[in-house]
């Protein structure tokens, strides 16, 4: 092997080494740029979704004729167990937003703030409110009560 051939081999090794190093470096750069792109939050910010259906109570907690106040999506809701089945109504008075109370004896809702009254289906009976209480869909599954939103009446 003469001097020229030896130089060529070492050149070739050096070149291949650089090529390999360059390829690995490019790969690492790709990984790094992916991570950087990922870390910076995207244009559309995350928004907490409204849960469509939520379990709010056990059926045995609401015996026939009784009512129970529950929370659905953070809002107070009355679930009544009437003869025709379960009925769920928003507990917010449609007048000023006070929480209405269920009057078991009379079978009506009474607003403590301005004396508004609603029947067991949320219809206005007396007082300042003009709109009925919004109704929600109540479903029973294996002794558990689920609430879901439904179009306002």
């Amino acid at each position: 092997m003469n001097e020229h051939e030896r130089v060529t081999i070492s050149d070739r090794r050096g070149f291949l080494g650089k090529l390999l190093g360059g390829a690995l470096g490019l790969g690492l750069l790709g990984i790094l740029s992916t991570v950087v792109a990922y870390i910076f939050p995207p244009h559309r910010r995350f928004a907490t979704p409204v849960r469509q259906r939520q379990r709010v109570a056990l059926l045995r907690e609401i015996p026939p004729g009784k009512g129970k106040q529950v929370l659905f999506g953070g809002e107070p809701v009355w679930v009544l167990h009437l003869r025709e089945g379960l009925i769920a109504l928003s507990a917010r008075c449609t007048h000023q937003g006070c929480i209405v109370q269920w009057d078991e004896q009379r079978g009506t809702f009474a607003c403590p703030c301005h004396g508004g009254r609603f029947d067991a289906h949320g219809n206005v009976l007396a007082g300042l409110p003009t709109r009925p209480l919004p109704q929600l869909r109540a479903e029973v599954l294996q002794d558990e009560v689920y609430l879901a939103r439904q179009e306002e009446r």
């Binding site: 991570v35 870390i39 995207p42 995350f46 979704p49 259906r53």
Partner: protein, 337 residues
């Protein structure tokens, strides 16, 4: 020589040691696992940036990562496929140690390895629940039912993991804390002891085809050095990374349907839990728990009992049995998802 050069020389000298002749390419599997663990930790940390561990937000936050976050689908894909590959490689590693009877005179490290194996199972289970989709909910529910049958500790574990008997906010938060907080620390600590013991006790284990008593020291040196082994390992890591990238791009893991309790239970468990599903379809949970417990105890005691021939036979039976149970489990859930 500068201190840096000295260190470099020291490492180079260390790596120039020849590898014992019996140390074949199978021994790379442990290192391969280590690489996959590192990859899971890194991709997991990235996923933590956007994940929200509450039942109201978990599903949407995963969808957000998949649809809105730049290359979020790729990061989740790497984590997802990395987990699958990790389990495959872990089974290979365990099988290698078991069938080469490499656990001999390494009783403690064998036990630690088994604990790590269980830990990876716990990782897989808690991780599967985090997207909080239909499948997550019903699989968690199935395990809850199984745990209720575990005598003495079942109720305790249920309280600890589920935070009660309901799958609500508390349960998801607990699964999350186990997956990203508790388990990684436990595993890293166990892994450190595992590696320390491997290093201290040396690579031992002639293949079962060689005679007894051919431990290190007697084993002739091969022409391969540790430097060669490291290069092979790096090459394997590169291939693995490329493979996972390809899987993540071509088979991006889909997100299941959001939880809807009024829809029927989809019962689709991941492939690695199929043997367990088949097992509990075959035997009643009350009896099965005891049987499984006995099997696990047997595994821990294998190196102490010194019943090499029987252990090898039983091991082969167990592998065949697991395969048969997986098929049974697969058929019992009604075909592919």
């Amino acid at each position: 020589m500068t201190p840096l050069r000295q260190l470099q020389a020291l490492i180079q000298a260390e790596f120039r040691h020849p590898v014992p002749a019996h140390v074949g390419r199978w021994y790379l599997v442990g290192g391969w696992l280590l690489f996959l663990v590192a990859l899971q930790i890194l991709s997991g940390i990235l996923l933590m940036i956007y994940y929200r561990p509450s039942p109201d937000e978990a599903y949407e936050s995963v969808r957000y990562v998949m649809n809105d976050v730049r290359l979020g689908w790729l990061v989740r894909g790497m984590h997802y496929w990395g987990a699958h590959l990790l389990i495959v490689v872990l089974v290979l590693h365990l099988g290698r140690v078991y069938f080469f009877t490499a656990y001999r005179e390494r009783e403690l490290n064998w036990a630690i390895g088994l604990l790590l194996f269980g830990g990876v199972g716990a990782f897989a289970f808690t991780g599967m629940l985090l997207p909080w989709d239909q499948q997550a909910y019903w699989n968690a529910d199935a395990v809850r039912t199984a745990l209720e049958h575990v005598p003495v500790v079942g109720k305790f574990i249920l309280e600890l993991l589920w935070g009660g008997h309901e799958l609500e906010t508390g349960a998801l938060l607990r699964f999350y804390i186990f997956h990203v907080g508790l388990l990684p620390w436990l595993m890293v600590m166990l892994l450190a002891v595992h590696l320390y013991l491997v290093n201290r006790q040396g690579l031992y284990s002639p293949s079962p085809f060689q005679g007894e008593g051919q431990g290190e020291g007697q084993s002739p040196a091969s022409s391969r050095t540790y430097h060669d082994m490291l290069l092979e390992g790096l090459f394997l890591a590169l291939l693995t990374f490329g493979g996972l990238l390809t899987l993540a791009v071509l088979f991006t893991p889909a997100l299941g349907e959001p939880i809807d309790l009024l829809k029927p239970n989809p019962v689709h468990v991941p492939w690695y839990f199929l043997p367990a599903l088949g097992f509990f379809r075959l035997v009643s949970p009350d009896f099965g728990i005891w049987l499984a417990g006995l099997g696990v105890l047997g595994l821990f005691l294998v190196p102490v009992l010194r019943v090499r021939g029987i252990a090898l036979g039983l091991g082969a039976l167990a592998v065949l049995g697991a395969l048969a149970l997986a098929v049974l489990g697969y058929l019992s859930q009604g075909g592919p998802p």
